[in-house]
């Protein structure tokens, strides 16, 4: 690589130095995260006082909720199951990574002590 190329790369690195976000960035993210967590914990079914709505709308809303809740629960359970499986997969790969690291470490120590490749 020529000196010119190296200088250009250096300029590019300088140009692309990381910049800090606004000072209140972290606070905003934390506030949104807290809000999203609270929203998840809120009951999904919106209760409407019957006397505020015509009876037919109240019955329709009740029927709609009854129809939606079982599939929603199933979807939630399925998603939880998938999340557990993905977590298990990650743990498995991590465990195997540790196994490999330790086996290789042992092999290297033996090679060092015997000065012979295994």
């Amino acid at each position: 690589m020529s000196n010119q190329d190296q200088d250009f790369e250096k300029e590019l690195r300088m140009a692309l130095r990381r910049e800090e976000p606004p000072a209140d960035f972290a606070a905003k993210v934390l506030a949104r995260a807290k809000e999203s967590k609270t929203a998840e914990e809120r009951p999904k079914v919106v209760e409407m006082p019957v006397w505020r709505r015509p009876l037919v709308w109240a019955v329709a809303a009740g029927l709609a909720v009854t129809a939606l809740v079982p599939p929603a629960v199933q979807q939630y359970q399925q998603r939880r199951q998938e999340e557990r499986a993905m977590k298990a997969e990650k743990e498995l790969l991590f465990a195997l990574s540790i196994t490999r690291a330790k086996l290789q470490h042992t092999r290297e120590k033996i090679q060092r002590s015997t000065r012979q490749p295994l």
């Binding site: 690195r13 298990a88 790969l93 990574s97 690291a101």
Partner: protein, 186 residues
């Protein structure tokens, strides 16, 4: 500082495996600053294996046949702030268990401040019921326990590079400061 790694691989049949109380190993980490505790068996292992696909293109998928032959994967890894914070004697019940269950210690490497032991459990038809590795360093202890019905060549997979993520990859990515690497394509 060297880390003490205890790798305990148990390739015991499940009934014998049930006889070993992992809580005795957990005591090793009483003073640990970092702990890694993984227990995968039964349904959890099947779930994990289910995410890998046979004939898939990712490296992780290539180890699916190996994973399918496993019945249990157990990791206990503890890091300490200073030396002398765990008791090596805590491992003796494990060694006794391995001996009683006819595991063979095939490798033992000892240096002044660290040691490693590798055990295999031979079963019928030239296969292995599991692998155990104990690696101890002054400030780290790691125990790996792997049960299953393994082929001899699975040992190479467990210690090789294909299919199993490199532990170093994530550690490299945690470094946020420029490393000043040279561009190696020119």
């Amino acid at each position: 500082m060297r880390k003490t790694l205890l790798l305990l691989a148990c390739a015991m049949p499940l009934a014998a495996q049930d006889g070993f109380d992992f809580k005795t190993l957990d005591k090793l980490g009483d003073n640990a600053k970092n702990k890694t505790v993984i227990t995968l068996d039964g349904d959890m292992l099947k779930m994990a294996s289910g995410f890998l696909s046979n004939g898939g293109k990712s490296e992780a998928d290539s180890i699916k046949p190996l994973v399918d032959s496993l019945t249990g994967v157990y990791i206990r890894s503890f890091e300490f702030d200073k030396e002398g914070q765990y008791n090596d004697q805590t491992l003796e019940p494990l060694r006794a268990y391995l001996k009683q269950a006819s595991w063979n210690k095939i490798v033992e490497s000892r240096e002044p401040k660290e040691y490693s032991e590798i055990y295999l459990h031979p079963i019928a038809n030239g296969r292995l019921g599991g692998i155990a590795v104990i690696s101890a360093e002054p400030r780290e202890v790691t125990v790996v326990l792997i049960n299953g019905n393994l082929k001899q060549e699975d040992l190479a997979k467990l210690s090789g590079n294909m299919g199993i993520p490199d532990l170093k990859l994530n550690k490299k990515n945690s470094d946020k400061t420029p490393k000043g690497k040279k561009d190696d394509e020119e």
